[in-house]
């Protein structure tokens, strides 16, 4: 047991140590300060800028930034959809996979374009190497870079700078952050035993004398960007539970840290942008105050196992159903919470098999979206909550609420409200429709409370752009592909538009100087208040479904 807790603590410690280092580096990159990689990468950047026809890099207004995000994303999505639909005709298809259904292809494109990577298919049997590497692998970089660019633009606006240039931010995100780290990470994974090959599947005769097909492919490089970019779409259907994606404890550690590295560092980056590292660490503390309890209750749930099974066994036995024995209860629990917190969505075990406490924590992560949160956007949501907390409680000091010296007025509240509103719309409405017609639509494997969790989880994962599955749903149907696709799109682009407009509105305000009459937002008191506001605004909305899903299930298992 102690070993399990030590594994969890060690991983967290590594994350905290990395935060200031990577955070400072990200700030250098986006403040256009010199970094060590400039000498090698500047020519590469220039080549890219020339290729996309970017001669000068003017600062963009909110709508220009939004238009650039939407147009570039649409073009990338259209290209990938074509590749997926035409994959039998394209090269690099040693396993000879055939046509994809149009609805799965559409869902997959939307899903990878938006950094969601929800998969209603199994990679090894549905996609060619070419589709995996060039279509999905391409989107894994660009979708992560898009999120990062939006997050940085948001921080810039919040701190009174102009939003920057989307295309430059996109290129810098890739060449300065995602690509170099992926390169190192892929080599580490390769060294630890993850395969990287373009040879087709192996045909082997097993000890029992039967023939077995073993799928393989260019996994290592795919794996690292899947984790680092918080993509989460596995090369294989079993995702990081598959021994070729995540063969041992070392790869598991690298992959877990890679999930959290960028979203946690981005909070520190914010601190450098505002010259207020104290606030950055306080906000970091809010996240940890959610994250650590989630890990603990999930881990305890898994460690104590299923009470009804234990009753039969006559002893307390960890719940190992749906887990890889090489990871055990601790690393699986940590991974499950981390992957839902960071919107990565990769899994190293079946979330469907988690105890109700794990279902509760992972769902809550998806509802909140700020426990680290998505690449770039998660950090932005955190500050949206901070703004809402300032607005709700800041009046109590007798001034119009201000954040970073800028008044929070109707415009800001409208955009913040949009972000608040879109998540329940994209989750609860399709879930209610699905559950109203369970026979026709749902394809639920376990009815009752657990089935409810499966459906809610699917849409929460889509809308939060997480992509992990509770699994157990027959989700490769037109209904699931389309409805989840809509949830994904709503959950991705509506908040991005609102975030950028909110940031622009803030950046255009004349800052008010700080006095004793100003509510300081970098105090422990205010940070705690923000935590409570997050709970009330973020959790109460979903309390009824949590009560009828994992909570009811927990009482059912141990009445």
């Amino acid at each position: 047991m102690l070993q399990g807790w030590l594994q969890i603590a060690l991983t967290l410690l590594i994350v905290i140590v990395i935060t200031p280092l990577l955070g400072r580096y990200i700030a250098h990159v986006f403040l256009n300060e010199r970094t060590g990689l400039d000498a090698i990468l500047n020519p590469l950047d220039r080549l890219m800028y020339r290729a996309i026809g970017l001669r000068s890099m003017p600062d963009m207004t909110g709508w220009q930034y939004i238009r650039s995000v939407l147009i570039s994303n649409f073009m990338m999505g259209a290209a990938v959809l074509m590749v997926l639909l035409l994959q039998p005709l394209l090269p690099l298809n040693p396993t000879g996979v055939g046509m994809m259904n149009w609805d799965i292809a559409l869902h997959t494109t939307i899903s990878f374009l938006t950094n969601t990577d929800q998969q209603h298919y199994s990679g090894e049997t549905t996609l060619s190497y070419g589709s995996q590497v060039f279509a999905l692998g391409f989107l894994m970089f660009t979708s992560a870079a898009t999120g990062l660019a939006v997050g940085i633009a948001f921080i810039r606006g919040l701190t009174g700078r102009s939003l920057g240039n989307f295309y430059q931010d996109l290129v810098l995100s890739i060449t300065r952050i995602l690509l170099p780290i992926s390169l190192v990470g892929a080599l580490l994974l390769l060294a630890a035993g993850v395969p990287e090959t373009i040879a087709g599947a192996l045909q082997l005769k097993t000890l029992e004398g039967t023939m077995q097909t073993i799928a393989r492919g260019p996994v290592a490089h795919f794996e690292i960007i899947k984790q680092l970019g918080e993509n989460g779409g596995g090369f294989f259907g079993a995702n990081s539970a598959h021994p070729f994606e995540n063969p041992n404890g070392w790869t598991n550690l690298i992959e877990t840290v890679a999930m959290v590295a960028i979203p946690s560092s981005l909070i520190y980056t914010y601190g450098i942008f505002t010259h207020n590292l104290k606030q950055a660490w306080l906000v970091y503390a809010i996240v940890l105050a959610f994250f650590i309890p989630f890990v603990i209750i999930t881990a305890i749930g898994e460690f104590q196992g299923n009470p009804q099974v234990n009753a039969i066994l006559g002893e307390i036995s960890p719940n190992l159903e749906g887990k890889e024995v090489r990871f055990g209860w601790a690393q699986t629990a940590l991974w499950a919470v981390t992957t839902t917190a960071t919107m990565c969505g990769a899994v190293n075990g079946m979330h469907d098999s988690l105890m109700p406490s794990g279902g509760f924590s992972t769902l809550l992560n998806l509802f909140l979206q700020i426990v680290w949160g998505g690449q770039g956007t998660g950090t932005a949501y955190l500050f949206v909550y901070l703004i809402l907390a300032v607005f709700l409680t800041g009046l109590m000091v007798g001034r119009t609420p201000e954040f970073l010296g800028r008044k929070i007025e109707k415009t800001e509240i409208v955009f913040a409200s949009v972000i608040l509103l879109v998540h329940p719309i994209a989750i609860l409405i399709p879930a209610a429709i699905t559950l109203a017609f369970p026979e026709a639509l749902a394809g639920i494997s376990n009815p009752g409370f657990h089935g409810l969790s499966q459906v809610i989880y699917e849409y929460a994962s889509a809308s939060a752009n997480n992509g992990s599955g509770f699994e157990g749903l027959g989700d490769a149907t037109v209904w699931w592909n389309l409805s989840a696709g809509v949830s994904i799109l709503l959950g991705r682009y509506v908040p991005i538009v609102a975030l950028l407009l909110l940031a622009e509105s803030m950046s255009q305000k004349q800052p008010v100087p700080m006095t004793d009459g100003t509510l300081r937002t970098d105090t422990g008191l205010f940070t705690s208040i923000t935590g409570v506001v997050i709970l009330i605004l973020g959790v109460l909305t979903f309390l009824p479904v949590l009560a009828l899903g994992p909570i009811a299930e927990a009482f059912q298992l141990s009445p």
């Binding site: 809402l388 607005f391 709700l392 409680t393 800041g394 009046l395 109590m396 000091v397 007798g398 001034r399 119009t400 929070i408 007025e409 109707k410 509240i413 409208v414 409200s417 608040l420 509103l421 329940p424 719309i425 609860l428 409405i429 879930a431 209610a432 429709i433 559950l435 109203a436 009752g448 409370f449 409810l452 004349q510 008010v512 100087p513 006095t515 004793d516 009459g517 100003t518 509510l519 300081r520 105090t523 008191l525 205010f526 208040i529 409570v532 009330i536 605004l537 109460l540 909305t541 979903f542 309390l543 009824p544 479904v545 009560a547 009828l548 909570i551 009811a552 009482f555 059912q556 009445p559």
Partner: protein, 687 residues
């Protein structure tokens, strides 16, 4: 205004309040009109919910067979509670409006239509209705008349009773030409003599009309912060609407069906009805509080802006110091004695009617000096801005003068006198004490210096300390020299000062502060203050000031007390704090309501253990939460109207304090109250 007359006004208001509540009750029923309700999205949703549950009371099976026990009683009770929730919210608004109306009515009484004597171009007098008067007309008023409109005195001297507006019973002298005393307000009464007045406002746009419209709340447009809050409350309402609308199929899926009545109840409990019901009352009451302070704000926006003020620009005289400087000492030079200079100072001041002059006379008399000159044969020389001296020409040809030191120096030099070196030393010494030095001379001979002392208003230093704690900077403007100004600034505790200031400096200071992103408030009364009043974020004009100043300002202080600016800032802050406190309280309440209702209605799904409050049954839990939700509105009406008490603390101390009371209190209070109500509901046997 002295406190006595203000408290008598409040007593009057109290007497009128009996009728006020009756009228408010009637109003709360009339306000059930959906056209009124739709203006408040939160309460409109409650209104719709009430209709739905009312229909379900008439026919419980309207939307299918009800899963509740005894649906008729339950639905009826829920409908009744929701109806009362609406009535309570309406009542809060009606009381706030009613208080304003009572004040407006007493103002309107002064404004009856009367005959006005319009002076035509050719000088003939024409009697027309006062409502026919237009801007630019010239009218004549004589003793006993009510002045029909706002105007500027062009001829005549008369005393005017302004008590209808200011509450101040002593009459005020009005005469043309002077900055301060030449403007008259419609509704005031002329007590003696007669005045010729040029009309400065069209009918219905006069000062009193603006005042009536504002205190009545008729023209109340929502303030920027109120709009932002309304948006957020509307969005929270929508979020909970989605939660409730989707709950039915979700609950059906796990075989825990919920009735429509329970869903409506849950919705009403969760949406922010407390703050939604009280929001407009808080705003109206804020304006009313300003009016009770005898200040007229031109908009709610201006009152709200007061809370955000970073810098106060204050005139020294009248605000920081008492208007009058008093003679403190005589300091002889040239080898004269104190008595010698006292004698000359007395001679120079016998015709001086200013408070300074009188104080010199009384100081000299205290030193035992008596008037020896023949008053009737002497000539008094008045102070003028050009000579900056005053004095007396005696019958024997002796000229005695007192005045600004360099002016007197010039006077003496021009007569061939010499300036003793010690004079400058004494001048600097007195300046260094924060006093104003006046030199005294007889012909070409300088006798010494009179030390005029500025009296800093008692208690002003403490008020500035409070302001500093609230993060507000004070800047003093004065015509005094730098040394004097710096001493007074230090004694009064202002943060900064501008010495030898001209009216143009005022606007410069304001612009400079605004360029740093600060919001500035100032007071002013003269016409040359008007540009600065307009430039300031909050400009408070004195009622005794000119029409131009009042037009440029966004508030007018009827008592003409510049110190009141500090109180106005406090009122602005109080308004925002009240709104914030009740919002926080309202939203914090949701936690308890959730814990009351959710475990109760889903007890069938096996989550009964979450019923931490141990509520008796599903129906009693729902009813208790709803009753709490309804009763909390009237319980908070006094707080909404009176405002949360403001303490001069730093923002962080205030936040800590208020979050403890309204945040933590908002979490805990409903747990206790709902449990208590549940015991009662179960005991009475309602559910």
């Amino acid at each position: 205004m002295d406190t006595k007359s203000r408290s008598s006004r409040q007593a009057k208001a109290k007497a009128a309040s009996q009728g006020l509540y009756q009228r408010a009750m009637k109003e709360s029923v009339l306000k059930l009109d959906p056209r009124v309700q739709i203006r408040n999205p939160v309460m409109f949703l409650v209104w719709i919910g009430t209709i739905v549950t009312a229909l379900l009371t008439i026919n419980p099976s309207l939307f299918g067979p009800p899963p509740d026990q005894n649906p008729l009683l339950f639905n009826g009770l829920v409908t009744l509670i929701l109806l009362f929730t609406l009535l309570f919210a309406n009542f809060a608004e009606a009381v706030a409006e009613g208080r304003g109306k009572a004040q407006a009515d007493s103002l309107r009484a002064t404004q009856s239509d009367s005959l006005a004597r319009k002076l035509a171009q050719d000088g003939t007098i024409q009697e027309i209705s006062s409502t026919a008067l237009r801007k630019g007309d010239v009218i004549k008023v004589i003793a006993g008349d009510v002045i029909p409109v706002d105007g500027e005195v062009t001829q005549g001297v008369a005393s005017v009773d302004e008590s209808a507006i200011t509450g101040e019973s002593a009459p005020v002298l009005k005469q043309p030409g002077t900055d301060i005393a030449s403007s008259v307000t419609g509704g005031t009464r002329i007590l003696s003599d007669e005045l010729t007045i040029r009309v400065t406002s069209d009918p219905g746009k006069g000062f009193i009309d603006r005042m009536i419209a504002l205190v009545e709340g008729a023209e109340r447009s929502k303030t920027p912060n109120e709009i932002a809050l309304t948006v957020l409350l509307a969005v929270l309402t929508q979020v909970f609407l989605i939660v409730i609308a989707t709950l039915s199929p979700i609950a059906n899926y796990v075989n825990s069906p919920v009735s429509i009545t329970v869903l409506v109840s849950l919705l009403v409990a969760l949406i922010p009805t407390t703050i939604g019901g009280l929001l407009s009352a808080i705003g109206i009451a804020g304006m009313d509080r300003v009016a009770q302070f005898n200040v007229i704000a031109t908009s709610g926006r201006a009152v709200e802006a007061c809370g955000d003020i970073n810098t106060l620009v204050l005139d020294k005289t009248g605000t920081i110091t008492l208007g009058n400087r008093l003679a403190e000492a005589f300091i002889p030079v040239n080898g004269y004695s104190v008595k010698d200079i006292a004698q000359v100072a007395l001679d120079s001041s016998i015709f001086d009617e200013t408070p300074e002059g009188k104080s010199i006379v009384s100081l000299a008399e205290r030193l035992g000096v008596v008037v020896t000159i023949d008053r009737s044969a002497s000539d008094g020389i008045d102070f003028s801005a050009r000579t900056r001296m005053s004095g007396t020409d005696l019958p024997d040809g002796t000229h005695v003068r007192k005045g600004a030191v360099d002016a007197v120096k010039g006077f003496v030099r021009s007569r061939g006198g010499s300036i003793p070196a010690e004079l400058d030393a004494e001048y600097e010494h007195i300046s260094g004490l924060g006093g104003t030095p006046l030199a005294v001379c007889q012909n070409n001979d300088i006798y010494g210096i009179i030390y005029l002392k500025d009296i800093i208003k008692p208690g002003i230093k403490e008020r500035f300390d409070q302001l500093r704690r609230m993060g507000i900077r004070t800047i003093m403007l004065t015509g005094d020299n730098r040394i004097t100004a710096s001493v007074i600034a230090r004694e009064a505790g202002v943060d900064d000062f501008i010495a030898e200031a001209t009216p143009e400096d005022k606007i410069e200071v304001i612009r400079a502060e605004q360029a740093k992103g600060k919001l500035v408030a100032m007071t002013g009364d003269g016409t040359n203050d008007a540009p600065a009043l307009a430039q300031a974020n909050v400009g408070v004009a004195m009622n005794s000031g000119t029409q131009a100043a009042k037009e440029a300002a966004n508030m007018v202080d009827l008592d003409s007390d510049p110190t009141k600016l500090i109180d106005i800032v406090t009122i602005g802050k109080q308004l925002l704090i009240t709104r914030g406190a009740l919002t926080t309280f309202s939203i914090a309440n949701d936690i308890a309501k959730y814990f009351a209702i959710i475990p109760a209605i889903f007890a069938g799904a096996g989550i009964g253990k979450l019923n931490v409050m141990g509520l008796a049954s599903t129906q009693s839990a729902v009813l208790s939460a709803l009753i709490y939700n309804a009763l909390i509105i009237p319980a908070l009406i006094p707080l909404a109207l009176k405002g949360v008490k403001f303490r001069p603390l730093t923002a962080n101390q205030l936040l800590g304090r208020n979050i403890l009371i309204y945040g933590l209190g908002g979490v805990i209070a409903p747990f206790i109250a709902i449990k208590a109500l549940d015991i009662i509901v179960a005991a009475v046997g309602l559910a």
